[in-house]
């Protein structure tokens, strides 16, 4: 088997995931938060594919495809929400969108 070993893939995946997680935690624009979420999902996908390749079966790939579908659906809903929010002329700042507090 050519190419770098599984460790390289996993390290990249961890880096991506951390980047995404920090983005979610730190950034206040919902659009960026959504982007960061996508990064996290794709980090997961990368790890899944790596494991799939190591285990030499297709299960991980199927998982990854499922995740992509979910990610796409989520992006649609998320972007829809963002557009709806901006149409209401509300600031696109997650710290100001606190209507749902208890």
């Amino acid at each position: 088997m050519l190419g770098p070993g599984i460790a390289a893939y996993l390290i990249l995946s961890v880096v991506l995931f951390t980047t995404g997680a920090l983005g979610v935690l730190i950034r206040r624009s919902p659009l960026i938060v959504l982007l960061a979420l996508e990064i996290m999902l794709n980090a997961g996908n990368l790890a899944l594919l790596a494991f799939s390749r190591q285990a030499a079966n297709g299960d991980g790939q199927i998982f990854a495809l499922t995740v992509m579908v979910v990610a796409a659906a989520e992006a649609v809903v998320g972007l829809g929400l963002i557009v709806a929010i901006s149409r209401k002329h509300v600031d696109l700042d997650v710290d100001k969108l606190t209507t749902l507090r208890g």
């Binding site: 979610v24 507090r101 208890g102």
Partner: protein, 644 residues
């Protein structure tokens, strides 16, 4: 014969359905014709059954027929069974015969009432229920008839339902009878437990043949001792409630709130005598518990005297007759309690004639006086209501047991049986003889106050009389009953013949009556007492003696006790109704409200405040949530690493 008996049973039921379905498509008059016509059909069918039974040997006069299984459970089966035997045919004749006359009378009496059709339907329902009671060949079905006569009685007592008193009286009658039903049903449970059936033929006619006597099978199934006593006691409870005997009698005087024909049919001639029928019908069970037989007789004896005393001071024309009914049924209870079934049933028959007659005559009086029932406002009606006056005299003489009127023969038959029944018999004889005196006294008090002397101002002002006093429709049944009140007693004549005893004999063998000197003494003594009663009534009430007033003043407490009917109502109110009422209110207020209805409110308030506090965790800052998520994941990861 069986077919005739079924037709007799269902003809009145068909009338009920017809009147209910037809609604106002038939005239009020025709509703009455349908109801009384159906009863006439029943009577004709009863006569057919009588004739065919007469054609048979006395030992074979028992037939039963089951059309369908009414109720079942596993091995238990209760059929829709009728029994055609001398006792049931005897009762069928009384119920449908007297019933027909009274229903026919009611067409005239109820004319122009707003809800006449409903009245006739109820009346037919009553006849059906009563026939079911006396014809059923199954104790469960008998209980069904038993309950339904109570229901019809309730419906008819509060027929004029915008009267507060009528509604209360109806409820009282029903609830007291429900009490009797409850003890009845408990007795049936005990009987089912031992006999596994309630079919009369299997219980009473164990060899499937008459005579119906104790022959050891009931005992062998364990119906002895306490069990037998409890069964008989339960049945007696039902009988006492239905027949308005002390201590379950207070509903009957109030029941006079119903229209007068109702009082005549249900609360004099038929339904209230059902207790007597029940004891005669189940005498085998009573004979296994002699103590309860004696109890029945003693209750009857007490009722004779107490009801007779109360009747002396009543001022409502119908209530006087109602107390008289209680007292007369007391005679029947005494008789059947001591085993004189023939005598008891004979009195039931004659009583049906003359008591219905008295009520119907009273009904004409009440009508003529624009629905006035208070005898203190009546007087001197003899001249303006000559027909009614004569009918009333016949009824009164029959009730007071003056020969040769009907009551004389039946009452003397009872007294003669008592004279032959040992010490208890003689004690009860004393009560019964005193009762005969009271009967004559209160009956003729009523007669003299209402009919003799000069008309009171109220009477002359309100009196309106038609041909035959109240119209032909009301007059002819009264005339028929008047004739029957004279000749009805000749069925059983001392030193002559004993038709009723012989007829009933295959079903219930009557105790021996006294003969010879004892009998003559009993006859002479009771007749003398009755005559004394009439004489005193004449002195005090016809001659305008001041003795009743003086007596009232001399013994005020006794007078008040009588006027309050010995305080039974007050005691029952205090002992049963009030506690039930209070218990219900207290339960609602102190248990249901705080414990079950309030508690859930408390609980939900608690949950709400708790969740309010918990909800503060929900800050609305998405990034806080994300951080919590990440931190949680981190903790889980650390824990996993640590554990593995």
């Amino acid at each position: 014969m069986i077919a005739a008996a079924w037709i007799a049973l269902f003809a009145p039921a068909a009338a009920v359905v017809a009147i209910a379905v037809a609604g106002n498509r038939i005239s009020r008059f025709y509703a009455g014709v349908v109801a009384s016509g159906a009863t006439l059909v029943s009577f004709i069918c009863s006569v057919i059954a009588l004739v065919s039974l007469l054609g048979e040997h006395p030992d074979q006069r028992v037939h039963s027929s089951t059309l369908w299984t009414w109720l079942s459970a596993g091995n238990l089966e209760f059929g829709a069974t009728i029994l055609v035997d001398p006792l049931s045919v005897f009762m069928m004749l009384v119920v449908s015969g007297v019933g027909f006359l009274i229903l026919a009378y009611a067409i005239g009496y109820m004319r122009a009432d707003v809800e006449e059709r409903r009245y006739h339907a109820y009346k037919a329902l009553f006849v059906f229920s009563m026939l079911l009671l006396v014809q059923s060949g199954n104790l469960l079905l008998l209980l069904a008839g038993w309950g339904m006569v109570g229901l019809s009685s309730y419906l008819l007592i509060n027929f004029w339902h915008d009267r507060e008193t009528a509604v209360a009286a109806g409820k009282k009658a029903f609830v007291m009878n429900a009490f009797g039903d409850a003890t009845f049903v408990l007795a049936l449970f005990l009987l089912v437990q031992h006999m596994h059936t309630l079919d009369m033929r299997s219980i009473f006619f164990v060899s499937e043949r008459i005579p119906m006597t104790v022959d050891g099978v009931l005992e062998s199934r364990g119906v002895t001792g306490t069990v037998a006593v409890l069964i008989a006691l339960g049945l007696l409870g039902g009988a006492v409630a239905k027949s308005a005997q002390i201590p379950l009698h207070t509903w009957l005087p109030d029941a006079m709130e119903g229209p007068t024909p109702v009082s005549a049919l249900i609360h004099a001639a038929t339904m209230v005598t059902a207790g007597v029928y029940l004891i005669a019908r189940t005498h085998v069970l009573f004979e296994l518990a002699p103590a309860i037989q004696d109890l029945a007789a003693i209750l009857g004896g007490i009722t004779i005297v107490l009801a007779g005393l109360v009747a002396l001071v009543q001022t409502d024309i119908k209530r006087v007759i109602a107390y008289s009914t209680m007292s007369q049924i007391g005679y029947m209870f005494v008789a059947v309690g001591l085993g004189a079934y023939g005598a008891g049933l004979f009195h039931l028959l004659t009583h049906a004639f003359f008591k219905a007659l008295l009520f119907m005559a009273a009904g004409i009086v009440i009508h003529a006086l624009s629905d006035e029932q208070d005898i203190r406002r009546m007087g001197g009606l003899g001249r303006s209501l000559p027909f009614t006056y004569r009918a009333f005299i016949v009824g009164a003489l029959a009730l007071a047991a003056i020969p040769p009127f009907a009551g004389f023969f039946s009452k003397d038959s009872i007294l003669a049986s008592l004279a032959n029944a040992g010490t208890l018999g003689w004690i009860l004889w004393g009560g019964a003889a005193f009762g005969a005196f009271l009967t004559a006294l209160y009956t003729f008090r009523l007669l003299f106050i209402v009919f003799s002397g000069a008309p009171t101002p109220f009477a002359s002002e309100h009196l309106h009389v038609k041909r035959f006093d109240g119209g032909l429709a009301m007059a002819w049944p009264v005339a028929v009953l008047a004739v029957l009140s004279v000749v009805g007693g000749w069925l059983q004549v001392p030193w002559g013949w004993t038709a009723v005893d012989d007829w009933i004999h295959p079903v219930a063998e009557s105790a021996e009556e006294a003969t010879g000197v004892t009998f003559t003494f009993s006859l002479v003594a009771s007749s003398a007492l009755a005559l004394l009663g009439i004489y005193l009534a004449w002195r005090w009430y016809a001659q305008g003696s001041r003795f009743p007033e003086q007596a009232r003043r001399r013994w005020p407490r006794a007078a008040r006790a009588l006027e309050h009917k010995f305080y039974f109502d007050e005691v029952y109110d205090g002992v049963f109704y009030e506690p039930a009422h209070r218990a219900a209110l207290a339960t609602a207020r102190h248990v249901e409200q705080p414990l079950f209805l309030g508690s859930i409110g408390e609980l939900s308030r608690g949950v709400r405040s708790l969740s309010g506090r918990l909800a503060q965790v929900q800050t609305g800052f998405v990034r806080q949530y994300a951080f919590a998520l990440a931190a949680g994941v981190a903790v889980v990861v650390v824990v996993f690493l640590f554990v593995s």
